[in-house]
């Protein structure tokens, strides 16, 4: 446990001491501000059939930045260690591989969650400045954040695996990007013009459709199936990361 906390602190410190982190934070703040504005604007013309929360978290402005964000924050994690050889220092101290993987995963997750905090402020500002009570559906926002965190866990775990596979950060980043986009598009397969898919296959793709999960959760409908999907996918990916790292150190 001590080792886990020590590495977690070191990684978090590493995030906030690097200029890349501040570039990412600023970019995310701009994107969130713009997407909030875009979600707000149609309300000027009259009532809409989507709530403010749903409008913000289901459009292209929500998804596209995410595709870029995950590779950026995860590509460094294990690639750098492998390139510099520092994993040897880490694992010859009384530290378990699981400690290292989990600490890096959670450091990344904490940074990711911090990136999303300004959005909450946007909604609160709407109440404070607008002087409107109940300006937004609180439970819908909570649901949307639930998916943001769960999706983040899975995608960060994908990034962990990709970065354990290569000592080259760029390769790891591109691989993460490709996997995340692929997973997102696969979820949209049943809705595409392809057609002719059997019911079971359709249902399978619906289960991994993050867009659909987001639409439901951001309208306040909480379903346990996506929660199970994201958590189990995260666990499997992290175990795979541990195995990959062990296999790679044992063969060189």
């Amino acid at each position: 446990m001590t080792a886990f906390i020590t590495i977690l602190r070191k990684e978090l410190r590493g995030f906030f001491l690097s200029p890349v982190a501040y570039v990412v934070i600023s970019m995310m703040m701009i994107v969130q501000g713009v997407s909030f504005l875009f979600a707000l604007k149609p309300l000027l013309t009259g009532p809409q059939n989507m709530s403010l929360v749903q409008a913000q978290f289901t459009g292209a402005l929500f998804w596209i930045p995410l595709f870029v964000l995950f590779p950026l924050i995860t590509m460094r994690l294990f690639s750098e260690e492998q390139k510099m050889g520092t994993l040897e220092m880490l694992l010859t101290a009384p530290v378990r591989m699981a400690d290292v993987v989990l600490a890096k995963f959670f450091a990344c997750l904490i940074f990711y969650i911090i990136l999303w905090l300004p959005t909450i402020l946007h909604y609160l500002l709407l109440e404070w400045i607008g002087g409107i009570e109940h300006a937004f559906p609180v439970y819908a926002l909570a649901g949307a954040f639930c998916i943001i965190v769960l999706l983040g866990m899975m995608n960060i775990a994908i990034g962990c695996l990709a970065s354990s596979l290569s000592a080259n950060q760029i390769v790891a980043g591109v691989l993460t990007f490709a996997l995340i986009v692929m997973l997102f598009l696969l979820g949209h397969l049943p809705g595409s013009s392809l057609g002719g898919l059997s019911e079971i296959v359709q249902e399978f793709f619906e289960h991994i459709n993050s867009d659909l999960h987001m639409q439901r959760f951001s309208s306040g409908m909480v379903d346990t199936r996506p929660i199970a999907y994201y958590l189990s996918a995260t666990a499997v990916l992290l175990v795979a990361t541990t195995f990959t790292l062990n296999a790679r150190r044992w063969k060189n």
Binding site: T2, A3, T6, I7, K10, G14, L17, S18, M84, G85, T86, E88, M89, L90, L91, T92, A93, P94, V95, R96, R249, W250, K251, N252
Partner: protein
Amino acid sequence: MRYPCATAPKPPTAATFLTPMIDVHNVTRQFYSKTVVDRISFHVDAGEVVGFLGPNGAGKSTTMRMLTGYLPPTSGGIKVAGHDILTDSIAARREIGYMPENVPLYTDMRVKEYLHFRARLKGLSGKELRIRVGAVMDRCGLTDVRRKIIRTLSRGYRQRVGLADALVHQPKLLILDEPTNGLDPNQIRQVRELIQDLSENHTVLLSTHILSEVEAVCGRVIIINEGTIKAADTPENLVNQLRRAGTVHLEIQAVPEIAEAKLREISVIKKVTLECEIEGGWKRFVIRAESGTDVRQKIVALCAANGWPLREISRLSANLEDVFVELTQRQI
């Protein structure tokens, strides 16, 4: 979990002396089909300073990585301070201070920050942690650069950071993989003095290419080549066992056959050969005597008695380098 021996050093018990610090039993390591380490066995007792020698690619670093638990052996068993490195890995690693070859470090951290991080990983905390980090920075000459970012440090300083890290938790066993690699002569001397200092209360296993260093520091030497142990003994014994030690070169004017016959009469001389004849009637002999003997005086007396003009007599003094070359040179 607290690090047990940091608060109060445990008094040595009988068991401490009986269990060897390192016990390597029949260890093999293969990478795919290539055997890098082939059924080696050796042990290092508590308090010893052992030099681990061998040419590049002999399997030194692989062996050290197996000792520290970074690489599992393909077969065989390794125990460090009584703990099996595979089944009781964490406990074994607590006893080890390891400095890998090329000293990988987090280059974006500051020296003190890095050492704090490492000390905490190894289970130190609070006041004790600050005292230990201060002490090792002092000992390794890092106090002046403690606020510098490691990236900006020279090779010599990075090496010292690696050494400070290895020492910070007061391990029983230090494993140093080429600690003086890439240092200038002054720095090599400093590191050597530091190791000599440390040997008073640590067991040390170090690998190096600099043989004079081994002769100066190590009580015992293990020579490894192509994955197998070629020799394990004190430097003195190794040198004495060397065949070439005690060979005498002699240049005299004499009839070769008579001189050879008379020289052979000296009891400890095993072999006399005429190497070459030089202009002016000089004959050059190579005389091999039993190891550990000096026959020069007897030869000089013999020459004087027979009236042979003598212009050169010299005895080859072998050193560890000769042992190393003989044991590890590829037979062509």
